[in-house]
Subunit: 443 residues, 2 copies
């Protein structure tokens, strides 16, 4: 591997978490930069989660690791450990009706590929430890980014328990600081930085099913209770507990939050009777009235870089609603692609970042759109005949022509096809389908 | 007029200008709040422009005052002074071709209404002085807003030449602080605040035609040099000088900026030969190479209020590209409507602000869209036969049915019809036109 002489300069890597609740993209990127020989300083707002324990209680949608994430982990040799030791395979969706009946919709009926439910804490711990192993990567916790001066490459931090601010200098600032990115907030004031943040009507709340009670929860599935205006999902954990997430309109959360435990239990009895039994009445009441519901935001922006001085990746660049299970996978793919593009441009950083920004933006916007579309599909369409019919037709054509007709979900989840290409494919398939149907009708 | 007892509490009004270049909406709003008996403290980033002189040199697109702005000025008794003493009426567009020929396109062929070119400095001076006349309005210059704490109603300012920050408390914070609003920037971090900023490819640069040379510039017109990919406009000043604005792709500005004076003059000779003669070769070269070109941003957001504690108006709430001449008019209309809604709700501030936000948002987004559409129309469509044909048909139908068929430009510029309704009307007219045309074709 050729290493440019500039790599001997210290390169700083910033990862600040302002009000966010995960930092896997920052840690993975630190591994990548570390592996290439950069001097990396990783700055994190909170305490070291490996010391302070579970950081994401009540604010975590379990992570669904699929092809893109696995590929990015494989490049630094962590895929096998993550999938084999900490991932619970999910081969299909399990759809729960209110009458207790269940239906299975496989993710990949053609070759039975799985997605993997991974605990956020395992992932964070493994990635931080992998980064820390390298002598050229330094972790700094309890550093909150106050401002970034891109021209001077200067970052100003507020450290825990210290009054004075701390300045550090960086040749390259990498902001992997989540949906509410402080680095991006500084970019917002620069001319020609386009930005969009959109909150959806639905918020989410985390609940859980304890290990003992889940005897009849089929383990290798992503369980979904679609109810039209709202929905619930459950992802398996390695200890046989389930992380349950309820998605509902903010007003509905507020109404239920103001009501009595009896009204809450009645709501679950009506809509999620089987889940109520598994969660348990007392646990449901305790969790629902003590947990916060959190808003869901979709963020698009452009460009991702500030010349050769800074770049944002992961949720900081493209936060999406969590309904395609691609948030982390897209963030991990950013790390992979950024590493690739820097290498291909011979570490001419400015050109490489510009290229990364140009190439990645349409794909990031595409997956944000798809996640928004799935927001409707998961809670509603999945129950409709037309959706299921389309799914069967897709699966059949995929089986007959696996290289030509790749269904949308398959291309997004089980391939590394560019996200924008996945959407193009779908449009092409739609037009073929519509024309064929027209021909059928006119014959 | 009924005045609620709460009005005796001091009410603070913030107007901070971070990197903006005009403050007419803030000053007008201070007049309105002052008239209603509020204790108003107006905070402004820069020096008092009445003392420090022309603040907007090189960064001003002249203001086109039309119906909505006039109505808002009339409500505080300033319309006549502004229109009669400081406005230059413009009855039509004057389109300049490269071969020197000119064409007139009237704004209102039906009843000859005009729009008025007003110097930004006159406007600022008159409004600030009007606000200051009231004993309950206090102006504070050279205060830069550092942060706003909406929960506590606390504003923190950095004052010129002072190291220590200054805190003030407000019952209501009104952010009229422009396209790069510091108040809005604090709202950006609140959940459920939707936000979009989009820069267009074109930037602008201000040039000028001095009073002596413009003998053959017809005074009562808005002059336009549409050239497809770029364009230039000129608005008359009271002293017979002209404020000229060149709109062009950023890259094109950069290329010309790096080139020689000869290349610049050649560019003007080819594209704006008549304007070159009026501006003068030396003045053009001096101004072009010393002035900055400024980017153009369109901002949409929602909601405009933070409970009963804060509201944003004007460009802070809905910055638009300047191609419909509605930026200031829409901002002035905000002041009018906000005053109205507060009065109608008996000064129940929270409810009034919520209602203002709900009602105003679709209209503000509509005019942002229209301004973006006119970005294409002004530099390109205005030269096309189809556009002129449509315009003539619109004018004819308006003449025949003035209450039924109101052309889009007329409803936006010469009425106070809700902006969203103007667009609805246009859609309705489009469908009628298309259907009638189809009928014509099939007969």
């Amino acid at each position: 591997m050729y290493l440019d002489s500039r790599l001997k300069l210290p390169k700083y890597f910033v990862y600040d978490l302002y009000d966010d609740f995960s930092f896997q993209v920052g840690a993975l990127s630190a591994c990548y930069f570390g592996q290439r020989g950069y001097h990396v300083h990783l700055y994190e707002y909170r305490k070291d989660p490996r010391v302070s324990g579970n950081i994401s209680k009540g604010r975590s949608i379990n992570l669904a690791l699929s092809n893109r994430g696995r590929k990015a982990l494989a490049k630094i040799g962590l895929e096998e450990c993550m999938v084999a030791n900490h991932g619970v395979p999910m081969a299909a969706r399990m759809i729960h009706s209110t009458d207790g009946t269940k239906r299975i919709i496989p993710y990949d009926p053609h070759s039975n590929q799985c997605i993997y439910s991974v605990g956020r804490n395992y992932l964070n711990g493994i990635l931080l430890s992998a980064a820390e192993k390298r002598p050229n990567v330094h972790l700094n916790f309890e550093h909150k980014l106050v401002r970034a001066d891109f021209d001077r490459g200067k970052l100003t931090f507020k450290c825990a328990d210290k009054e004075a601010l701390k300045d550090v200098h960086a040749d390259l600032i990498v902001g992997a600081d989540g949906a509410f990115s402080a680095v991006r907030n500084c970019m917002l004031k620069l001319p020609m930085f386009n930005y969009n943040q959109t909150y959806i009507e639905h918020s989410y709340m985390e609940l859980s099913i304890p290990p003992g009670a889940n005897n009849d929860m089929e383990k290798n599935f992503l369980h979904i209770w679609p109810r039209g205006g709202f929905m619930m999902i459950a992802l398996p954990n390695a200890d046989r507990s389930w992380t349950v997430t309820l998605f509902m309109n903010r007003d509905q959360f507020a109404r239920l939050g103001r009501s009595s435990p009896e009204v809450l239990v009645k709501f679950f009895q009506t809509n999620f009777p089987d889940a109520l039994r598994l969660i348990g009445r007392d646990r449901l009441i305790a969790d629902f009235f003590s947990n916060q519901c959190s808003p869901l935001v979709s963020v698009k922006c452009n460009p991702y870089n500030v010349g050769s001085r800074a770049v944002i990746i992961g949720d900081a660049a493209h936060a999406m609603v969590p309904f395609y299970g691609q948030g982390m996978n897209a963030g991990f793919e950013d790390c992979y692609l950024l590493d690739d593009v820097l290498h291909n441009y011979g570490y001419s950083i400015g050109k490489a970042l510009e290229q990364f920004s140009k190439m990645r933006n349409p794909d990031a916007e595409a997956i944000c759109e798809l996640a928004m579309y799935n927001y409707i599909e998961m809670r509603d369409l999945v129950n409709r005949r037309s959706f299921l019919w389309r799914k069967r037709l897709d699966d059949l054509l995929f089986r007959l022509m696996p290289k030509v007709w790749i269904p949308l979900y398959t291309s997004v989840t089980f391939s590394d096809m560019r996200y924008s290409k996945c959407i193009e494919n779908r449009s092409w398939q739609d037009s073929v389908r519509t024309n064929n149907l027209s021909i059928c009708c006119t014959i």
